[in-house]
């Protein structure tokens, strides 16, 4: 077992870490305050190959693997979590389905632009009445001659305001998952508009918007994958997306830890740095341990995926653990900072606000637990018999 990152993974890590420290960290607080980011950042990331990390070079991507992807998101999120959200959507939820399910023409038209950062993508699945129960979505798409006409509204769309390309899931058939199809929409398509822009608890710099489809007319070649396979497309994006969110969450957790360590060494009370007090030390120890554990879960999930093997269980475990670690670490970071932790001049209250979303999107922690349980209990069905049959190894 090799537990260290390879030389090129380390080079990816140091490159992105340095970029983030120079270009992102100095403006992180301002991005949170203004709820926006310089659009040029996405272009810069694109030039480095980070807007399509695991998309092959021929389609404008970075040509790297899932482990690199986690490393990238962790380093970005350590500096600023919202940009990590922007990136993860573009990479996992838009570039990936185009790569896995798109026709060659669709890839040439859209994937290259998105992977290289010239265009930004978003993913429209959730609706007001369809969140965790995504299969119950109601946005419809009916065939009208050569076109598809879509009606409905999607909410909580990250990158909704800036996106040039939208992956939209709509019902083309009957109830349930098999009636759903995926479409590629573009800003400017007739009948497509950005509705309400949400004000959130955290990750302010990334936009979260409603996308309204009112007789939105799309040419036939905008269908992504076969009709009725929309849910397969959506689910296929999840495993990779979840590993990415684990990266984002661990970046936030690491920010909480590093800021806490710096503060604890500096802040003196009762004649000593608070880092010398056991209460502080134990929090720091637990933060560091959980982050390390989360990282190992994440790398393992990424590595298994890179081997081409099933990794649904591992991806869910990584996302669940990393996101809960982020929230836990950020909460304790605020505590370590004490009164200053509550003040916006200091970064930890932002980590606290940013961390929460990682427990919710791309499958809430509750959903992750269901997925994991299903996998584990499913395996146990087989394990029970051999034991009864006289101790044969499962």
């Amino acid at each position: 077992m090799e537990f260290t990152l390879s030389e090129e993974h380390r080079l990816v890590q140091s490159t992105v870490r340095e970029w983030a420290a120079n270009r992102l960290l100095p403006i992180a607080a301002e991005m949170d305050r203004t709820g926006s980011y310089p659009r040029g950042l996405v272009r810069e990331l694109g030039e480095m190959g980070l807007t399509g990390v695991f998309i092959p070079e021929e389609y404008g991507g970075g040509g790297m693997d899932m482990v690199s992807y986690c490393v990238v998101l962790e380093e970005i999120a350590r500096a600023e979590a919202a940009l990590a959200a922007v990136l993860s959507v573009n990479n996992s939820l838009v570039c990936y389905p185009l790569f896995a399910f798109g026709t060659e023409t669709q890839k040439r038209t859209y994937l290259t632009e998105l992977a290289s950062g010239r265009k930004l993508g978003c993913y429209c699945l959730t609706e007001p009445t369809a969140g965790s129960d995504a299969a119950s979505l109601r946005t419809s798409a009916r065939r009208e001659g050569p076109s598809w006409v879509l009606n409905g509204s999607k909410i909580f769309v990250t990158n909704g305001v800036e996106a040039d390309v939208l992956i939209v899931y709509a019902r083309t058939g009957s109830e349930g998952p098999h009636g759903v199809s995926a479409f590629i929409a573009e800003r400017g398509d007739p009948g497509l508009s950005v509705g309400k822009v949400e004000r959130k608890l955290g990750i302010h710099a990334s936009s979260t918007a409603e996308i309204v489809l009112q007789d939105c007319r799309l040419p036939a070649d905008r269908l992504l994958g076969e009709e009725g396979t929309g849910f397969t497309v959506a689910m296929a994006t999840l495993d990779g997306g979840r590993i990415g969110i684990a990266g984002q969450a661990l970046g936030i957790a690491r920010a909480a830890l590093e800021d806490s360590v710096a503060y604890a060494k500096d802040r003196r009370q009762f004649g000593r740095p608070i880092a010398e007090f056991q209460a502080t030390q134990w929090k720091i120890a637990d933060m560091a341990t959980r982050i390390q554990a989360g990282r190992l879960l994440m790398y393992r999930a990424a590595w298994i995926r890179d081997q081409g093997r099933r990794h649904t269980l591992e991806a869910s475990m990584a996302k669940l653990f990393a996101s809960e670690t982020a929230m836990w670490a950020a909460t304790h970071a605020v505590q370590i900072y004490g009164g200053y932790g509550y003040i916006q001049d200091y970064p930890v209250e932002r980590h606290f606000r940013d961390a929460k979303i990682t427990e919710i999107y791309e499958g809430t922690s509750e959903v992750q637990r269901l997925v994991i349980a299903r996998q584990v209990l499913g395996a146990l069905d087989h394990a029970v018999e051999p034991v009864r049959a006289g101790g044969r190894e499962a």
Binding site: E7, E8, W19, G49, L50, E57, G62
Partner: protein
């Protein structure tokens, strides 16, 4: 254009150092090594010239096995080839000796231009660049903040005390670059993958025709932390009063006014 860039693998200046108990240097463990800051500018300048005029960029380094990472970073930025001079005798060389070795590796490359960072951030010596120029018998221009290439010559800007000097330098030449000459690019992921696939040529002193390592002319006696400055006096309160206190102190105590 055939451009050669000398690079060095040095401790990351952001990381605090720990001086060895025997005072013979720094603790290697816990150090993070990176491509020398000034060499990043050298590589970037070489890449810009290549993008404008065409040609190849070859990196050269003399250092232990970890120094290959400096080459990888440069290759990931876009350099085409790399040479790693590795030899147990390297650690006993002084700067002039190292320059001799680098020059021996560069000579057969028929370079039109040799770029170096003006200094490396570990020893801050700024000796190797000009010494390499001497051993290659090439003209030099040091601490350059702007470089433009022309027909058979380059125009280089350098800061001297209180002025900017514009030099015309016949090519081939050795140029050492100063911060501000350019903004080095970040390696891209495809670049990192390509760097992995690029073979790094290895050289020992014997390969370079150096049978006996050049003798060193200097010897490190010891390394100590800098004298700790004592924090002095705080002046707080009303501005007008502070200013009077300060001027009086500067005049009468510190005697600098």
């Amino acid at each position: 254009m055939n451009i050669v860039v000398c690079v060095k693998h040095v401790p990351d200046t952001e990381v605090p150092i720990k001086i060895r108990a025997d005072g013979r240097g720094v603790e290697e463990s816990g150090l993070n090594h990176v491509l020398n800051f000034y060499d990043e500018h050298g590589v970037e300048e070489a890449l810009r010239i290549k993008e404008r005029f065409g040609g190849t960029v070859t990196l050269v380094t003399a250092g232990p096995s970890r120094a290959v990472e400096a080459l990888r970073t440069g290759l990931a930025m876009g350099a085409d080839a790399a040479i790693h001079i590795q030899d147990p005798a390297l650690s006993s060389l002084d700067h002039v000796g190292t320059a001799r070795v680098l020059a021996a590796a560069i000579k057969p490359l028929s370079a039109d231009l040799v770029l170096c960072g003006k200094l490396s951030t570990d020893d801050n010596a700024a000796v190797v660049g000009p010494a390499v120029a001497e051993f290659l018998d090439l003209p030099q221009a040091t601490a350059i903040t702007k470089l433009e290439l022309g027909e058979g010559a380059a125009t280089a800007h350098r800061e001297v005390e209180g002025a900017v000097e514009v030099l015309e330098v016949k090519l081939p030449a050795v140029i050492t670059v100063e911060r501000g000459i350019n903004e080095p690019r970040y390696p891209s992921l495809p670049g990192i993958m390509r760097a992995r696939r690029t073979a790094v040529a290895a050289r020992t002193l014997a390969d370079l025709g150096i049978a006996v390592p050049p003798a060193g002319h200097v010897e490190l006696l010891n390394m100590t932390p800098p004298p700790k400055r004592q924090a002095g006096r705080r002046l707080e309160g009303e501005a007008a009063v502070i200013v009077q206190d300060l001027v009086r102190a500067l005049r009468e105590e510190a005697k600098v006014l």
